[in-house]
Amino acid sequence: MSKSILIVGGGLSGTIVANGLCRQLGEQLRTGAVTITMIGNSEQHLYQPGLLYVPFGRIREHELFRDQRRVLDRRVNLFVDPAKNVDVENGQVITEAGRSFKYDYLVLATGSRCMPQSVPGMKEGAHWFYELEAARKLRDALTDFQGGKIVVNVNAPHKCPVAPLELTLMLHEYLQGRGLRDKTEITYTYPIGRLHSLEPVAHWAGPVFEQTGIKSEIFFNTEKVDPEKKTITSMEGVELPYDLLITVPPHEGAQVISDSNLGKGGWVPTNTKTLHREGSTNVFVVGDTTNIPISKAGSTAHFEADVLIDNLTSLVTEGRFARDYDGKAFCFIETGFATGTYVWFNYQTPPTVAPPSQMLHWFKLAYNRLYWLSARGLL
């Protein structure tokens, strides 16, 4: 009897899982012993890390997108019809158009989303760059900017933990290039008592901020933004004035997860090693959708997806698990427009930051294009 694998979500992790399974299960797909179906939200696949470059005009928008049907292996049955309800008790997913899908194995890859509306005044008063339309507006605001106070405000939880630092350092160089740095005060705010959640990254960033004249306000968790007065206030009682506010809004998981009672805030309780949904034996969770206390990052999603491909393949062909996820994450960090570095770690290995270099920056730029090979399951 045919085994059906259903993937909910067509972002990075869902796409890598789908394509990777096609490469591993070619024979089973050919004979009809296995079917792979994806329920996605969009005909377009977005390379999210590329949004970082949009405000500075350093990437063309067409480079961010590919047709999802062309990124996916043609053996994957794609339905662009968002999931409305995931019923794990009855092994069924219902879509917004009313389609119903049964499964033998379910992969939840529904991702995360910005929620500026969860902080009073943030949506009206702030710019952000984690979504295309917002990144375009920030680009326009930066073009019009002629000097003053810029606040870069980071909120918890959020994905891509190094992006706020990258944006801040790129902003410094952008303003230098326009001759506006002397007329601009940049203040970076962070929710905990250092500049980054990764301690070695925070230790590295401290002297860099000093050298570049970037101010900081730590233990800053946003309570409200006043777009009229142009101030941002923290729960800790600090108020900062701004002329331009760039925020990394707090994130939540997908609405369908909350609506299906699979996890508060859209985060699904997940086994840290097997990636099983807690309480299920045939439901797996991958990428930002998990509640695992590790970085919500593209690399995390990618490494989780690799493990899931091996485990689903082994389950289908041998009836056993292949291996555990080891918590691996690897993040490039742009330290300006000409240099970059990276950090990697897993559950057992503490993070270390490599010395920034031009070579690592070039590698990051190369990866912006190589990503499409990752999505296809080739890299």
Binding site: A156, P157, P191, Q348
Partner: protein, 76 residues
């Protein structure tokens, strides 16, 4: 009815125990408790200090073998 949620952030390098607590408190309702398990000794002092600063209620810390359990109640 108040709930109690436990987050096992032992060995979590990023985002780390305090970021996990901040995120969990945003989703909790007033009166709910969040217990954070942390292998970072600094959490035993950092978390109560932050909780006092923002006006939540610090319930207590228990030291275990190689890790700390810090409990916070959402107060507002």
């Amino acid at each position: 009815m108040a709930e109690r949620q436990t987050i096992d952030a032992r060995g979590a390098f990023c985002p780390g125990p305090l970021m996990e607590l901040i995120a969990a408190l945003k989703l909790a309702t007033v009166g709910d408790e969040v217990e954070i398990l942390s292998s970072d000794k600094g959490s035993a002092t950092d978390i109560p200090a932050w909780v006092a600063k923002v006006g939540h209620e610090y319930v207590g810390t228990t030291e275990h073998d190689g890790y700390w359990s810090v409990v916070v109640r959402k107060a507002k």
